[in-house]
Amino acid sequence: MILQIFIFNNMNLFEIINPSFYLLIFILYRTTFNKTSLILLGFLAGIIIDLTSQSYGCHTIAAITVCYMRGLIENYCFGVKANLGKAMLSGVPLFNRITFFLIIILLHQLIYYSLIFFSFNFIDTIILYTLLNSIITFIVIWTITKIFYDIKR
């Protein structure tokens, strides 16, 4: 959260790209933990980012939607009967993990930029911003998880 507020919110690469690094919290949240707590955590994180970046609720709405849909995304990516635990880090095929990361990031960015622009006239801008920011956010989050997971191992 601190990295998001002080570094990534001020990045503004090419005036378009602002990686949402705080999504790492929702991606790495252990599936054995309470889902209600995840939604409340998402709300809290969203509110903090909104207050610091003056987006008045866009981050919050995107974050709580991602947290609520996380269960469905997990079932789709890892299968209903998979031993999830720490599936986002190990124990499942690489393709499934990448899909899981990408869906969460894409969904969050799509909701966020749809609310920011809030107009059908900007649909092409929304798609452009969503794709670019999703790619950069994925690269950042994947790199960090890989580095820290390898160090831990």
Binding site: I39, Y56, G57, I64, S119
Partner: protein, 266 residues
């Protein structure tokens, strides 16, 4: 009761998500001007569409009354036109009050503290915000929001609106506002004791605003009382318009607002 509690526990994640979503949207709507105006525009479009359907049904059964009102309006306009030609006060080609768009009222309220009117013309018809709206009997309000096919008007029966008005006989300037009680009466304030007023004097627009030119009728004085401590009259004005049965309205042209704004800012 037990089954309700069980349902709440079973769907607690969905309930919590919907509550937080509602709270976040409410925050977004109140704090962000862009989202506020977009949502207002959407709500005007939806409200206007549904009100239009109901109004179409109602107006079919009201055609006889509507015809009588139109006849009376025509007579007043013809009378004004003849008088002006006789007095040679305006050329034949110019209209008394410049307007280009006429509209029909699709929804109207008079029972709230802040009343708004919806009309069936929007930005596609050339309507823009901050334009005065009148009908043949007097002023109606000011356009505050516009969607593609509908517009919202702040009615003069709105406690947030103050209109610059004058007593026609003496050209004394005052401020007209609605106190929220009767939809047939408004209060004219800031008229000092030094002025002579009579019951029945006509109140018209003063011309010192961007919305209405001078001389549009509003109402007549029906009562007044003196405010000893402040030295001003508190005048009750009976409106010429019956706001419970508005139909045809006219949207005034903008009165050189940009030029006036430039002069004021310089």
């Amino acid at each position: 009761m037990q089954s309700i509690i069980n349902s709440i526990i079973k769907y607690r994640n969905l309930i919590i998500y919907l509550l937080l979503l509602f709270f976040s949207f409410n925050n977004l709507y109140n704090k962000s001007g862009l989202h506020f105006s977009k949502i207002e525009t959407i709500s005007i479009s939806i409200a206007g569409f549904s009100a239009n359907i109901i109004d179409d049904f109602k107006s079919y059964f009201d055609l006889i009354n509507e015809n009588e009102l139109l006849k009376k309006e025509n007579l007043i306009l013809k009378k004004n036109e003849l008088e002006n030609y006789r007095n040679n006060t305006i050329p034949k080609s110019e209209s008394l009050f410049p307007y280009t768009i006429s509209a029909n009222v699709v929804r109207n309220t008079t029972n709230k503290n802040r009343n708004f009117i919806l009309i069936d013309k929007g930005s596609n018809d050339g309507v823009s915000i901050d334009r005065g709206v009148i009908n043949s009997l007097g002023i109606i309000g000011i356009i505050n929001n516009v969607s593609n096919d509908y517009s919202s008007i702040i009615s003069i029966l709105n406690s947030d609106l103050k209109i610059n008005a004058i007593i026609e006989r003496s050209s004394t300037i005052g401020s007209l506002y609605w106190d929220g009680y009767s939809p047939k009466k408004m209060i004219l304030s800031d008229i000092p004791y030094s002025n002579q007023i009579k019951i029945g004097d006509t109140i018209v627009t003063g011309g010192m605003s961007f919305y209405f030119p001078k001389g549009i009728p509003i109402g007549s004085i029906s009562n007044y009382k003196t405010n000893i401590t402040e030295g001003y009259f508190e005048i009750e004005v009976s409106l010429f318009n019956d706001f419970s049965s508005l139909n045809n309205v006219y949207i005034l042209d903008k009165l050189d607002n940009e030029q006036i704004n430039k002069l004021i800012s310089n």
